[in-house]
């Protein structure tokens, strides 16, 4: 055993998603073997990130500046606003490189039993932003789950009355997948949303 400092790092690392105590030990040993190349730069980066990274005042994503680099970019299409549940979803859409509008991160979805109400999400701020940005199209990119769609319908109700086109992501068969392996829900939805060829 290397003592309490070692154990403390293992304990902290093993709290991370996907990392158990065995993996944490291997990570710590790997870092100790590469102190200069790995451990010290990582420690420095973590400290800098903890200080610098914050939520964007406009879209609520994480960035080192507020407004974030997406909200500040004048090249983005400001008539498009895409609503996502969390930062991970925003990153997923950004990875595609095909969306050039702005985002709004809700920070969760409405949940009856967990007591998450509209006031707990960034919905009031969304309405303010829609008016300020004079958004022409609102893309609701929330998960196709009961709670995700409940939130989507709630937002649609809130936006009703404004001259804004509201769209949602398509649902159906993922590219490259075999029908035989799809769950029933996806197949039913794909059949319902079939399109002419």
């Amino acid at each position: 055993m290397l003592g309490p400092d070692f154990e403390n790092i293992v304990r902290l690392l093993s709290r991370m998603p996907g990392i158990g105590s065995r993996s944490a030990r291997r990570i710590v040993l790997h870092m100790l073997d590469n102190k200069d190349n790995m451990m010290l730069p990582l420690a420095e980066s973590l400290q800098k990130a903890a200080i610098d990274i914050q939520n964007c005042q406009d879209c609520h994503t994480l960035d080192t500046s507020s407004p974030c680099h997406i909200c500040a970019a004048m090249t983005r299409d400001r008539s498009l606003l895409c609503i996502v549940e969390n930062v991970a979803d925003l990153w997923a859409l950004e990875r595609t490189g095909s969306y050039k509008g702005l985002y709004h991160v809700l920070g969760g979805t409405l949940s009856a039993l967990d007591g998450v109400s509209p006031d707990d999400l960034h919905i009031p701020h969304l309405i303010t932003r829609l008016d300020e940005l004079q958004t022409q199209e609102l893309i609701i990119a929330l998960n196709a789950t009961v709670e995700g769609q409940t939130t989507a319908h709630y937002i649609t109700d809130c936006v009703k009355g404004r001259d804004i086109k509201i769209t949602r992501l398509a649902r159906g068969v993922p590219i490259g997948s075999a029908l035989d392996y799809l769950d029933d829900n996806t197949l039913v939805t794909a059949l319902d949303s079939r399109s002419a060829m």
Partner: protein, 245 residues
């Protein structure tokens, strides 16, 4: 080792650990029963364990009183029939929340299980809203607070029953209720075994069952309010009705 196998409806999934969750089921023979299930919150599996999904459940535990572990096999999902309809979604969530919050754990609830299955099946049809109200009245009955619409509480007549007394939960005829009509609850005609329904009738039905759920279940046993989703379900019908008038 205690073990059983049963069919159940998922009424709540509470994340526990990285991918697992404590799943609450309404089962056919074991009532409302919770257990830990591996993998139900993973991004790959989460969609298969939505509320309203029928599962084949295999529960085992070393001790009868402990939480135990489920092996779940999803059989049929009903969420897909509700995703595009905000009212159906609210009703589905309201059903799950009411079952989770009101039913005692591990006590037989076969009647309300069958009624819940009937409501889930109705999500494919146009009569899901009255079916939901019948379901809530069935839930009240299962909890010991039935509503009697067979005859007038004051005169005994079976004709022209248009009110429900908030005190006795019994029907009142138009003539007998006239002097007190501001204090009585409207009785939608479809609850007397037929007839058409519109948004106003559904709103009246939700007001009726909601009143007794609040007064006799939530208010008395737990001093809580009806879940927010249930309020929004009522509002979705009552606001549309008031917009039309």
């Amino acid at each position: 080792m205690d073990q059983w196998r049963d069919q159940g409806i998922i009424i709540n999934v509470k994340p526990h650990g990285e991918h697992g969750g404590v799943v609450s089921l309404l089962t056919a023979e074991h009532g409302r029963h919770a257990g830990f299930a591996h993998g139900v919150q993973s991004s790959k599996n989460r969609s298969q364990y939505e509320v309203g999904t029928i599962v084949d459940a295999d529960w085992h535990s070393k001790q009868t009183d402990s939480l135990g572990t489920y092996k779940l096999n999803p059989e049929k999902s009903y969420a897909v029939y509700a995703l595009d309809d905000p009212r159906k979604l609210l009703a589905l969530q309201s059903m799950s929340a009411l079952l989770h919050l009101t039913l005692p754990e591990r006590e037989d609830a076969a009647g309300i299980y069958d009624a819940s299955l009937a409501f889930l099946e109705s999500l494919k049809t146009e009569i899901w809203a009255p079916t939901y109200i019948y379901w809530e009245i069935g839930l009240l009955q299962a909890l010991g607070f039935g509503i009697d619409v067979s005859e007038c509480a004051a005169t005994g007549t079976q004709e022209d029953l248009v009110y429900i007394s908030p005190k006795t939960a019994r029907a009142v005829s138009r003539d007998a209720g006239e002097p007190y009509k501001d204090r009585l609850l409207p009785l939608p005609q479809f609850l007397k075994g037929g007839g058409d329904f519109d948004d106003k009738a559904i709103a009246d039905g939700l007001q009726l069952s909601g009143y007794f759920l609040q007064q006799r279940v939530f208010g008395m046993t737990s001093n809580l309010n009806l879940p927010d989703v249930r309020h929004r379900l009522y509002a979705s019908f009552s606001l549309e009705t008031s917009d039309q008038t």
